[in-house]
Protein backbone atom coordinates (compact mmCIF):
# COMPACT_ATOMS: atom_id res chain seq x y z
CA UNK A 1 0.00 0.00 0.00
CA UNK A 2 1.33 3.38 -1.02
CA UNK A 3 0.48 5.09 2.28
CA UNK A 4 2.68 2.61 4.18
CA UNK A 5 5.85 3.45 2.26
CA UNK A 6 5.52 6.68 0.28
CA UNK A 7 7.68 9.60 1.34
CA UNK A 8 8.08 12.94 -0.44
CA UNK A 9 11.55 13.58 0.96
CA UNK A 10 13.47 12.52 -2.21
CA UNK A 11 11.82 15.41 -4.05
CA UNK A 12 13.35 18.10 -1.84
CA UNK A 13 15.94 16.68 0.57
CA UNK A 14 19.45 15.30 0.29
CA UNK A 15 22.26 14.56 2.68
CA UNK A 16 26.04 14.76 2.47
CA UNK A 17 28.07 12.61 4.85
CA UNK A 18 31.40 13.57 6.41
CA UNK A 19 33.30 12.05 3.50
CA UNK A 20 31.35 14.23 1.07
CA UNK A 21 29.21 11.32 -0.16
CA UNK A 22 25.67 12.14 -1.17
CA UNK A 23 22.89 10.13 0.45
CA UNK A 24 19.15 10.15 -0.15
CA UNK A 25 17.96 10.81 3.39
CA UNK A 26 18.95 11.97 6.87
CA UNK A 27 17.11 8.99 8.36
CA UNK A 28 18.72 6.43 6.06
CA UNK A 29 20.02 3.32 7.76
CA UNK A 30 23.82 3.21 8.12
CA UNK A 31 24.10 -0.11 6.31
CA UNK A 32 22.80 1.60 3.17
CA UNK A 33 25.25 4.41 3.51
CA UNK A 34 28.36 2.29 3.29
CA UNK A 35 27.66 1.12 -0.24
CA UNK A 36 30.45 2.10 -2.62
CA UNK A 37 28.52 3.68 -5.48
CA UNK A 38 27.96 7.10 -3.99
CA UNK A 39 28.22 10.35 -5.74
CA UNK A 40 30.50 12.75 -3.93
CA UNK A 41 30.45 16.52 -3.54
CA UNK A 42 33.83 16.57 -5.28
CA UNK A 43 32.37 15.13 -8.49
CA UNK A 44 28.63 15.89 -8.38
CA UNK A 45 26.64 19.06 -7.82
CA UNK A 46 23.71 19.28 -5.40
CA UNK A 47 21.29 19.54 -8.31
CA UNK A 48 23.13 16.84 -10.22
CA UNK A 49 22.59 14.41 -7.36
CA UNK A 50 18.84 15.09 -7.42
CA UNK A 51 18.74 13.34 -10.82
CA UNK A 52 21.38 10.73 -10.04
CA UNK A 53 20.79 7.05 -10.64
CA UNK A 54 20.36 6.53 -6.87
CA UNK A 55 17.76 9.27 -6.39
CA UNK A 56 15.80 8.33 -9.53
CA UNK A 57 15.62 4.76 -8.29
CA UNK A 58 14.50 5.86 -4.81
CA UNK A 59 11.72 8.05 -6.25
CA UNK A 60 10.58 5.28 -8.60
CA UNK A 61 10.34 2.85 -5.69
CA UNK A 62 8.48 5.45 -3.63
CA UNK A 63 5.90 5.90 -6.39
CA UNK A 64 5.46 2.16 -6.77
CA UNK A 65 5.15 1.38 -3.06
CA UNK A 66 8.30 -0.73 -2.99
CA UNK A 67 9.61 -0.95 0.59
CA UNK A 68 13.30 -0.03 0.93
CA UNK A 69 15.84 -1.06 3.54
CA UNK A 70 16.92 2.56 3.44
CA UNK A 71 13.65 3.41 5.18
CA UNK A 72 13.77 0.79 7.95
CA UNK A 73 14.32 3.43 10.61
CA UNK A 74 11.01 5.13 9.77
CA UNK A 75 9.10 1.86 9.32
CA UNK A 76 10.29 0.83 12.78
CA UNK A 77 9.22 4.12 14.37
CA UNK A 78 5.76 3.81 12.85
CA UNK A 79 5.49 0.19 13.96
CA UNK A 80 6.08 1.46 17.50
CA UNK A 81 3.52 4.28 17.12
CA UNK A 82 6.22 6.93 17.12
CA UNK A 83 6.28 9.93 14.81
CA UNK A 84 8.66 9.03 11.98
CA UNK A 85 10.93 11.11 9.80
CA UNK A 86 8.71 10.10 6.88
CA UNK A 87 5.71 11.72 8.56
CA UNK A 88 7.73 14.88 9.18
CA UNK A 89 8.85 15.04 5.55
CA UNK A 90 5.34 14.26 4.25
CA UNK A 91 4.04 17.17 6.30
CA UNK A 92 6.35 19.48 4.30
CA UNK A 93 4.38 18.31 1.26
CA UNK A 94 1.08 18.80 3.15
CA UNK A 95 0.45 15.05 3.18
CA UNK A 96 -0.89 13.33 6.27
CA UNK A 97 -1.28 9.60 6.86
CA UNK A 98 -4.79 9.92 8.29
CA UNK A 99 -6.07 11.41 5.00
CA UNK A 100 -3.43 10.05 2.71
CA UNK A 101 -5.25 9.85 -0.60
CA UNK A 102 -6.84 13.29 -0.41
CA UNK A 103 -3.73 15.05 0.87
CA UNK A 104 -1.46 13.28 -1.64
CA UNK A 105 -3.71 14.31 -4.51
CA UNK A 106 -4.00 17.88 -3.20
CA UNK A 107 -0.31 18.20 -2.35
CA UNK A 108 1.52 21.21 -3.79
CA UNK A 109 4.09 18.62 -4.93
CA UNK A 110 1.56 16.42 -6.77
CA UNK A 111 2.72 17.54 -10.24
CA UNK A 112 6.33 16.87 -9.20
CA UNK A 113 5.40 13.33 -8.20
CA UNK A 114 3.54 12.87 -11.47
CA UNK A 115 6.49 14.14 -13.49
CA UNK A 116 8.74 11.57 -11.82
CA UNK A 117 6.14 8.83 -12.34
CA UNK A 118 6.24 9.26 -16.11
CA UNK A 119 9.94 10.12 -16.38
CA UNK A 120 11.65 7.11 -14.79
CA UNK A 121 12.07 8.81 -11.42
CA UNK A 122 13.69 11.98 -12.73
CA UNK A 123 12.65 15.29 -11.19
CA UNK A 124 12.66 18.99 -11.99
CA UNK A 125 12.70 19.91 -8.30
CA UNK A 126 15.79 21.26 -6.56
CA UNK A 127 16.84 20.54 -2.97
CA UNK A 128 15.45 22.82 -0.28
CA UNK A 129 16.32 20.78 2.81
CA UNK A 130 19.90 19.61 3.38
CA UNK A 131 21.64 17.59 6.03
CA UNK A 132 25.34 18.32 5.93
CA UNK A 133 27.81 16.27 7.95
CA UNK A 134 31.07 18.10 8.41
CA UNK A 135 33.26 15.51 10.10
CA UNK A 136 33.78 13.48 13.24
CA UNK A 137 35.97 16.00 15.09
CA UNK A 138 34.62 16.00 18.62
CA UNK A 139 35.69 17.10 22.08
CA UNK A 140 33.66 14.30 23.69
CA UNK A 141 33.98 10.53 23.73
CA UNK A 142 30.47 9.47 24.74
CA UNK A 143 30.38 5.75 25.44
CA UNK A 144 27.27 5.16 23.33
CA UNK A 145 28.67 7.03 20.33
CA UNK A 146 30.78 5.52 17.55
CA UNK A 147 34.23 6.44 16.21
CA UNK A 148 32.70 7.55 12.93
CA UNK A 149 31.06 10.38 14.91
CA UNK A 150 33.82 11.10 17.43
CA UNK A 151 37.51 11.61 16.77
CA UNK A 152 38.20 11.06 20.48
CA UNK A 153 36.50 7.67 20.38
CA UNK A 154 38.71 6.66 17.45
CA UNK A 155 41.66 6.86 19.84
CA UNK A 156 39.81 5.11 22.67
CA UNK A 157 38.75 2.26 20.38
CA UNK A 158 42.35 1.85 19.19
CA UNK A 159 43.40 1.41 22.83
CA UNK A 160 40.55 -0.96 23.65
CA UNK A 161 40.55 -3.05 20.48
CA UNK A 162 42.85 -5.68 21.99
CA UNK A 163 40.35 -6.25 24.85
CA UNK A 164 37.43 -7.10 22.55
CA UNK A 165 37.57 -6.80 18.79
CA UNK A 166 33.79 -6.98 18.39
CA UNK A 167 32.91 -4.37 20.99
CA UNK A 168 35.72 -2.05 19.89
CA UNK A 169 36.32 -2.43 16.16
CA UNK A 170 39.05 -0.36 14.53
CA UNK A 171 37.61 2.54 12.54
CA UNK A 172 39.26 3.53 9.29
CA UNK A 173 39.58 7.29 9.46
CA UNK A 174 38.42 8.92 6.25
CA UNK A 175 39.06 12.45 5.09
CA UNK A 176 36.41 15.06 5.94
CA UNK A 177 35.19 16.88 2.84
CA UNK A 178 35.21 20.13 4.81
CA UNK A 179 39.01 19.90 5.11
CA UNK A 180 39.11 21.05 1.48
CA UNK A 181 38.51 24.80 1.28
CA UNK A 182 37.67 24.56 -2.42
CA UNK A 183 34.82 22.14 -1.66
CA UNK A 184 33.44 24.50 0.99
CA UNK A 185 33.51 27.33 -1.57
CA UNK A 186 31.83 25.05 -4.13
CA UNK A 187 29.14 24.13 -1.62
CA UNK A 188 28.39 27.76 -0.69
CA UNK A 189 28.41 28.77 -4.37
CA UNK A 190 25.93 26.03 -5.27
CA UNK A 191 23.60 27.05 -2.47
CA UNK A 192 23.67 30.57 -3.88
CA UNK A 193 22.92 29.27 -7.36
CA UNK A 194 20.01 27.18 -6.14
CA UNK A 195 18.61 30.20 -4.32
CA UNK A 196 15.79 28.26 -2.68
CA UNK A 197 17.45 26.37 0.17
CA UNK A 198 15.16 26.71 3.18
CA UNK A 199 16.85 24.52 5.76
CA UNK A 200 20.38 23.24 6.39
CA UNK A 201 21.06 20.90 9.27
CA UNK A 202 24.74 20.48 10.18
CA UNK A 203 26.04 17.45 12.03
CA UNK A 204 29.46 16.54 13.46
CA UNK A 205 31.30 15.34 15.56
CA UNK A 206 30.66 18.31 17.72
CA UNK A 207 29.57 20.88 15.18
CA UNK A 208 30.32 23.90 17.35
CA UNK A 209 33.88 22.59 17.88
CA UNK A 210 34.57 22.32 14.13
CA UNK A 211 36.05 25.32 12.31
CA UNK A 212 34.37 24.52 8.98
CA UNK A 213 30.94 25.00 10.57
CA UNK A 214 31.81 28.63 11.27
CA UNK A 215 33.51 28.98 7.87
CA UNK A 216 30.39 27.84 6.00
CA UNK A 217 27.98 29.86 8.16
CA UNK A 218 30.09 33.01 7.95
CA UNK A 219 30.28 32.71 4.16
CA UNK A 220 26.50 32.37 4.00
CA UNK A 221 26.19 35.44 6.24
CA UNK A 222 28.65 37.35 4.02
CA UNK A 223 26.69 36.56 0.85
CA UNK A 224 23.41 37.48 2.54
CA UNK A 225 21.95 34.00 1.95
CA UNK A 226 21.71 33.42 5.69
CA UNK A 227 18.74 35.79 5.82
CA UNK A 228 16.54 33.30 3.97
CA UNK A 229 17.92 30.07 5.40
CA UNK A 230 16.94 28.27 8.58
CA UNK A 231 19.90 26.58 10.21
CA UNK A 232 19.88 23.58 12.47
CA UNK A 233 22.56 21.73 14.34
CA UNK A 234 23.08 19.52 17.33
CA UNK A 235 25.58 20.23 20.08
CA UNK A 236 26.86 18.46 23.17
CA UNK A 237 26.47 21.82 24.98
CA UNK A 238 30.15 22.09 25.89
CA UNK A 239 30.59 25.11 23.61
CA UNK A 240 28.81 28.47 23.78
CA UNK A 241 30.66 31.35 22.17
CA UNK A 242 30.24 34.75 20.54
CA UNK A 243 30.66 33.31 17.04
CA UNK A 244 27.65 31.09 17.61
CA UNK A 245 25.64 34.03 18.91
CA UNK A 246 26.55 35.96 15.75
CA UNK A 247 25.28 33.06 13.63
CA UNK A 248 22.06 32.87 15.63
CA UNK A 249 21.46 36.57 15.10
CA UNK A 250 22.22 36.49 11.36
CA UNK A 251 20.33 33.47 10.07
CA UNK A 252 16.62 33.64 9.40
CA UNK A 253 16.07 31.11 12.13
CA UNK A 254 18.30 28.76 14.11
CA UNK A 255 17.36 25.45 15.64
CA UNK A 256 19.77 24.09 18.23
CA UNK A 257 19.46 20.48 19.34
CA UNK A 258 20.99 19.97 22.78
CA UNK A 259 22.40 16.49 23.31
CA UNK A 260 22.01 15.61 26.93
CA UNK A 261 20.97 12.32 28.49
CA UNK A 262 20.33 13.32 32.05
CA UNK A 263 20.61 16.29 34.41
CA UNK A 264 22.45 14.07 36.82
CA UNK A 265 26.16 13.35 37.21
CA UNK A 266 25.71 10.06 35.33
CA UNK A 267 25.74 12.29 32.24
CA UNK A 268 29.45 12.95 32.98
CA UNK A 269 30.21 9.23 32.92
CA UNK A 270 28.34 8.62 29.69
CA UNK A 271 29.20 11.86 27.86
CA UNK A 272 32.84 11.74 28.94
CA UNK A 273 34.58 14.08 29.73
CA UNK A 274 31.61 16.44 29.97
CA UNK A 275 30.59 18.13 33.19
CA UNK A 276 26.84 18.42 33.74
CA UNK A 277 27.36 21.70 35.63
CA UNK A 278 29.11 23.30 32.63
CA UNK A 279 26.56 21.80 30.28
CA UNK A 280 23.64 23.13 32.34
CA UNK A 281 25.29 26.56 32.46
CA UNK A 282 25.63 26.60 28.66
CA UNK A 283 22.04 25.43 28.20
CA UNK A 284 20.94 28.31 30.44
CA UNK A 285 22.95 30.67 28.19
CA UNK A 286 21.05 29.30 25.19
CA UNK A 287 17.76 29.70 27.04
CA UNK A 288 18.55 33.39 27.64
CA UNK A 289 19.46 33.82 24.00
CA UNK A 290 16.13 32.22 23.06
CA UNK A 291 14.37 35.09 24.82
CA UNK A 292 16.16 37.67 22.65
CA UNK A 293 16.23 35.92 19.27
CA UNK A 294 14.32 33.49 17.09
CA UNK A 295 16.44 30.63 18.44
CA UNK A 296 14.56 27.36 18.80
CA UNK A 297 15.89 24.87 21.34
CA UNK A 298 15.12 21.20 21.79
CA UNK A 299 16.84 18.53 23.81
CA UNK A 300 18.17 15.54 21.86
CA UNK A 301 18.08 12.56 24.14
CA UNK A 302 19.01 8.98 23.32
CA UNK A 303 18.55 7.14 26.59
CA UNK A 304 20.60 4.04 27.23
CA UNK A 305 20.67 1.44 29.99
CA UNK A 306 22.56 3.86 32.28
CA UNK A 307 20.98 7.25 31.60
CA UNK A 308 17.39 6.03 31.49
CA UNK A 309 17.51 5.73 35.27
CA UNK A 310 17.48 9.52 35.65
CA UNK A 311 15.25 10.35 32.67
CA UNK A 312 12.91 12.05 35.13
CA UNK A 313 15.52 14.83 35.55
CA UNK A 314 15.28 15.50 31.82
CA UNK A 315 11.49 15.63 31.91
CA UNK A 316 11.55 18.00 34.88
CA UNK A 317 14.04 20.28 33.11
CA UNK A 318 11.83 20.29 30.00
CA UNK A 319 8.73 21.19 32.01
CA UNK A 320 10.46 23.87 34.06
CA UNK A 321 12.15 25.51 31.07
CA UNK A 322 9.51 25.01 28.37
CA UNK A 323 11.89 23.10 26.17
CA UNK A 324 10.91 20.13 24.05
CA UNK A 325 12.93 17.07 23.09
CA UNK A 326 12.99 15.49 19.68
CA UNK A 327 14.45 12.60 17.70
CA UNK A 328 14.44 10.84 21.01
CA UNK A 329 15.28 7.26 20.28
CA UNK A 330 16.22 4.51 22.57
CA UNK A 331 19.78 3.54 21.81
CA UNK A 332 20.28 0.52 19.49
CA UNK A 333 24.08 0.33 19.26
CA UNK A 334 26.20 -0.67 21.11
CA UNK A 335 23.64 -3.37 21.74
CA UNK A 336 24.69 -4.00 25.35
CA UNK A 337 23.65 -0.43 26.24
CA UNK A 338 20.03 -0.92 25.15
CA UNK A 339 17.55 -0.23 27.91
CA UNK A 340 15.71 -3.52 27.43
CA UNK A 341 18.60 -5.24 29.20
CA UNK A 342 17.81 -3.38 32.42
CA UNK A 343 16.37 -5.66 35.14
CA UNK A 344 12.68 -5.20 35.87
CA UNK A 345 13.20 -3.84 39.40
CA UNK A 346 15.22 -0.93 38.02
CA UNK A 347 12.68 -0.39 35.24
CA UNK A 348 10.00 -0.19 37.92
CA UNK A 349 12.03 2.46 39.76
CA UNK A 350 12.09 4.55 36.59
CA UNK A 351 8.38 4.07 35.95
CA UNK A 352 7.66 5.25 39.50
CA UNK A 353 9.79 8.35 39.00
CA UNK A 354 7.99 9.16 35.74
CA UNK A 355 4.65 8.73 37.51
CA UNK A 356 5.83 11.21 40.15
CA UNK A 357 6.54 13.75 37.41
CA UNK A 358 3.16 13.11 35.81
CA UNK A 359 1.43 13.68 39.17
CA UNK A 360 3.56 16.65 40.19
CA UNK A 361 2.78 18.53 36.97
CA UNK A 362 -0.74 17.13 36.66
CA UNK A 363 -0.08 15.85 33.13
CA UNK A 364 -2.93 14.28 31.19
CA UNK A 365 -2.60 12.00 28.23
CA UNK A 366 -4.30 13.13 25.01
CA UNK A 367 -5.01 11.47 21.68
CA UNK A 368 -3.33 14.31 19.80
CA UNK A 369 -0.35 13.25 17.65
CA UNK A 370 1.97 16.16 16.89
CA UNK A 371 4.07 15.70 13.77
CA UNK A 372 5.82 19.09 13.70
CA UNK A 373 7.36 19.13 17.17
CA UNK A 374 9.02 22.52 16.58
CA UNK A 375 5.82 24.55 16.75
CA UNK A 376 6.21 27.27 19.34
CA UNK A 377 2.52 27.11 20.17
CA UNK A 378 2.70 23.41 21.05
CA UNK A 379 5.63 23.20 23.47
CA UNK A 380 3.54 21.93 26.39
CA UNK A 381 1.66 19.28 24.36
CA UNK A 382 4.92 18.08 22.77
CA UNK A 383 6.53 17.63 26.20
CA UNK A 384 3.40 15.90 27.40
CA UNK A 385 3.37 13.59 24.37
CA UNK A 386 7.01 12.62 24.95
CA UNK A 387 6.63 11.82 28.63
CA UNK A 388 3.67 9.53 28.01
CA UNK A 389 5.50 7.96 25.05
CA UNK A 390 8.35 6.99 27.39
CA UNK A 391 5.96 5.78 30.05
CA UNK A 392 4.29 3.43 27.56
CA UNK A 393 7.57 2.24 26.09
CA UNK A 394 8.80 1.31 29.55
CA UNK A 395 5.50 -0.39 30.34
CA UNK A 396 5.94 -2.56 27.25
CA UNK A 397 9.60 -3.51 27.79
CA UNK A 398 10.21 -7.22 27.49
CA UNK A 399 13.48 -8.81 28.53
CA UNK A 400 15.17 -10.20 25.38
CA UNK A 401 16.35 -13.80 25.15
CA UNK A 402 19.99 -12.72 24.96
CA UNK A 403 19.79 -10.63 28.17
CA UNK A 404 22.41 -12.65 30.04
CA UNK A 405 25.06 -12.44 27.34
CA UNK A 406 24.41 -8.77 26.65
CA UNK A 407 24.62 -7.91 30.35
CA UNK A 408 28.00 -9.66 30.48
CA UNK A 409 29.04 -7.64 27.42
CA UNK A 410 27.86 -4.51 29.24
CA UNK A 411 30.22 -5.24 32.13
CA UNK A 412 33.10 -5.87 29.73
CA UNK A 413 32.23 -2.68 27.83
CA UNK A 414 32.11 -0.50 30.94
CA UNK A 415 35.21 -2.00 32.54
CA UNK A 416 37.17 -1.50 29.32
CA UNK A 417 36.37 2.21 29.21
CA UNK A 418 36.99 2.53 32.94
CA UNK A 419 40.45 0.98 32.49
CA UNK A 420 41.56 4.02 30.47
CA UNK A 421 39.36 6.64 32.14
CA UNK A 422 40.02 5.61 35.72
CA UNK A 423 36.40 6.06 36.74
CA UNK A 424 33.73 3.77 38.17
CA UNK A 425 30.09 3.54 37.19
CA UNK A 426 28.98 2.87 40.77
CA UNK A 427 30.18 6.33 41.79
CA UNK A 428 27.53 7.68 39.42
CA UNK A 429 24.86 4.99 39.68
CA UNK A 430 25.06 3.30 43.11
CA UNK A 431 21.51 2.04 42.50
CA UNK A 432 22.93 -0.35 39.88
CA UNK A 433 25.40 -2.08 42.23
CA UNK A 434 23.44 -5.29 42.79
CA UNK A 435 22.61 -5.62 39.09
CA UNK A 436 26.15 -4.96 37.83
CA UNK A 437 27.83 -7.07 40.52
CA UNK A 438 25.61 -10.02 39.67
CA UNK A 439 27.03 -10.01 36.12
CA UNK A 440 30.65 -9.76 37.18
CA UNK A 441 31.35 -6.09 37.73
Amino acid sequence: MLEKTFCSSPWFHIRIDSGGNYLPCRWAAWSEINTPKHNNISNTSLIGYMNSEVMNAVRTKMLNAVPMKLCDYCYNDEKNNRVSGRQKQLLKSVITLDQFQNTLCASPHYEDFRYSDINYGRTQTTPVDLQIEIGNTCNSACIMCAPKHSSKLVKDYEKLHHLDQTLFPIYQIGKNWTDDKKLIEKFVREIGELNNIKYIHFLGGETLYIKSFYDICNQLIKTGQSKTISLGTTTNCTVANADLENIIRNFQHVHLGLSVESFHKVNDYVRYPGDINDITRNINTFLKLREETDLHLALRITPNILTIYHIDTVFEFMLENKITAESCNFLQDPKCLRIEYLPIDLVNDIRSKIDLIINKYNLKETNQTIINERRKDLIDPVINQLIFEYKHLLDKLVEPDDADSQRKDLIKFLKSFESIRKNNILTYLPEYEEFLRSYGY
Binding site: L2, L91, K92, N102, T103, P108, Y110, R375
Partner: protein
Protein backbone atom coordinates in the same frame (compact mmCIF):
# COMPACT_ATOMS: atom_id res chain seq x y z
CA UNK B 1 -3.78 2.70 -3.47
CA UNK B 2 -1.24 0.22 -4.74
CA UNK B 3 0.88 2.88 -6.39
CA UNK B 4 0.96 6.52 -7.41
CA UNK B 5 -0.52 5.76 -10.83
CA UNK B 6 -3.76 4.74 -9.12
CA UNK B 7 -3.88 8.15 -7.45
CA UNK B 8 -3.70 9.88 -10.81
CA UNK B 9 -6.65 7.85 -12.04
CA UNK B 10 -8.99 8.89 -9.23
CA UNK B 11 -7.74 12.39 -8.44
CA UNK B 12 -10.33 14.35 -10.43
CA UNK B 13 -13.18 12.48 -8.70
CA UNK B 14 -12.07 13.20 -5.14
CA UNK B 15 -14.19 15.59 -3.10
CA UNK B 16 -14.24 17.20 0.32
CA UNK B 17 -17.24 17.97 2.51
CA UNK B 18 -18.47 21.47 3.08
CA UNK B 19 -20.94 22.40 5.81
CA UNK B 20 -22.19 25.97 6.16
CA UNK B 21 -24.67 26.81 8.91
CA UNK B 22 -26.69 30.03 8.76
CA UNK B 23 -28.15 31.18 12.07
CA UNK B 24 -30.61 34.08 11.65
CA UNK B 25 -31.07 36.74 14.29
CA UNK B 26 -34.52 37.89 13.31
CA UNK B 27 -37.08 36.55 10.83
CA UNK B 28 -37.48 36.56 7.06
CA UNK B 29 -34.01 37.80 6.25
CA UNK B 30 -33.39 37.48 2.51
CA UNK B 31 -30.22 35.48 2.12
CA UNK B 32 -28.27 34.17 -0.85
CA UNK B 33 -25.37 31.73 -0.60
CA UNK B 34 -23.00 30.94 -3.46
CA UNK B 35 -20.38 28.21 -3.38
CA UNK B 36 -17.94 28.39 -6.28
CA UNK B 37 -20.23 30.98 -7.96
CA UNK B 38 -23.18 28.60 -7.92
CA UNK B 39 -26.26 29.70 -5.99
CA UNK B 40 -26.92 26.94 -3.46
CA UNK B 41 -29.44 28.83 -1.30
CA UNK B 42 -31.59 31.84 -2.04
CA UNK B 43 -34.60 32.45 0.18
CA UNK B 44 -35.70 34.28 3.32
CA UNK B 45 -34.13 32.92 6.44
CA UNK B 46 -36.17 32.50 9.61
CA UNK B 47 -34.58 29.50 11.26
CA UNK B 48 -31.23 27.82 11.30
CA UNK B 49 -30.28 26.45 7.89
CA UNK B 50 -27.52 23.93 7.18
CA UNK B 51 -26.07 23.78 3.69
CA UNK B 52 -24.07 20.62 3.22
CA UNK B 53 -22.35 19.50 0.07
CA UNK B 54 -19.18 18.42 -1.59
CA UNK B 55 -16.64 20.33 -3.61
CA UNK B 56 -13.88 18.95 -5.76
CA UNK B 57 -10.64 18.38 -3.92
CA UNK B 58 -8.22 20.06 -6.27
CA UNK B 59 -10.13 23.22 -7.19
CA UNK B 60 -10.25 26.48 -5.26
CA UNK B 61 -13.32 27.00 -3.06
CA UNK B 62 -15.16 30.30 -2.84
CA UNK B 63 -17.98 31.19 -0.49
CA UNK B 64 -20.21 34.25 -0.84
CA UNK B 65 -23.09 35.13 1.49
CA UNK B 66 -25.31 38.14 0.90
CA UNK B 67 -28.21 39.22 3.10
CA UNK B 68 -30.69 42.07 2.82
CA UNK B 69 -31.30 42.95 6.42
CA UNK B 70 -33.40 45.43 8.26
CA UNK B 71 -32.03 46.75 11.54
CA UNK B 72 -31.43 44.89 13.89
CA UNK B 73 -31.45 41.70 11.80
CA UNK B 74 -28.23 39.71 11.34
CA UNK B 75 -26.98 36.26 10.34
CA UNK B 76 -24.33 34.29 12.16
CA UNK B 77 -22.15 31.88 10.16
CA UNK B 78 -20.52 28.59 11.08
CA UNK B 79 -18.41 26.87 8.43
CA UNK B 80 -16.61 23.55 8.41
CA UNK B 81 -14.63 22.08 5.53
CA UNK B 82 -13.54 18.47 5.66
CA UNK B 83 -14.93 18.39 9.22
CA UNK B 84 -12.47 21.11 10.27
CA UNK B 85 -13.78 24.26 11.87
CA UNK B 86 -13.09 27.25 9.61
CA UNK B 87 -15.60 29.88 10.77
CA UNK B 88 -15.66 31.31 13.40
CA UNK B 89 -12.10 30.09 14.20
CA UNK B 90 -10.45 31.69 11.16
CA UNK B 91 -12.97 34.48 10.55
CA UNK B 92 -10.09 36.97 10.26
CA UNK B 93 -9.42 35.48 6.82
CA UNK B 94 -12.92 36.32 5.52
CA UNK B 95 -14.00 39.58 3.96
CA UNK B 96 -15.35 41.32 6.04
CA UNK B 97 -13.43 39.51 8.80
CA UNK B 98 -16.37 38.40 10.91
CA UNK B 99 -18.75 35.50 11.45
CA UNK B 100 -21.62 37.93 12.21
CA UNK B 101 -23.27 39.55 9.19
CA UNK B 102 -25.01 42.76 10.26
CA UNK B 103 -24.60 44.69 7.05
CA UNK B 104 -25.63 44.14 3.43
CA UNK B 105 -22.04 43.83 2.28
CA UNK B 106 -21.28 40.51 0.56
CA UNK B 107 -19.34 38.21 2.89
CA UNK B 108 -16.68 36.19 1.06
CA UNK B 109 -14.07 33.59 1.84
CA UNK B 110 -11.71 32.26 -0.83
CA UNK B 111 -9.64 29.13 -0.36
CA UNK B 112 -7.11 28.43 -3.13
CA UNK B 113 -6.18 24.81 -2.26
CA UNK B 114 -7.85 23.62 0.88
CA UNK B 115 -5.16 21.41 2.43
CA UNK B 116 -2.24 23.76 1.68
CA UNK B 117 -4.29 26.72 2.92
CA UNK B 118 -5.29 24.88 6.08
CA UNK B 119 -1.68 23.76 6.66
CA UNK B 120 -0.58 27.39 6.53
CA UNK B 121 -3.33 28.95 8.63
CA UNK B 122 -2.95 26.33 11.34
CA UNK B 123 0.84 26.88 11.54
CA UNK B 124 1.84 23.33 10.61
CA UNK B 125 5.29 24.47 9.46
CA UNK B 126 7.02 25.23 6.21
CA UNK B 127 6.11 23.68 2.89
CA UNK B 128 9.13 22.39 0.99
Amino acid sequence: MKNFYEATATRSELTIDVRLILIPIGKDIPCQVKINDEVVFDEPLSSMKTIAGEVTLIDPISFAVKIQRQHPQAVKLVLAVDNKEIIPKYQHLAQPNTDYLDSNEVWTLNIPNFYSWYHTITGQGWIA
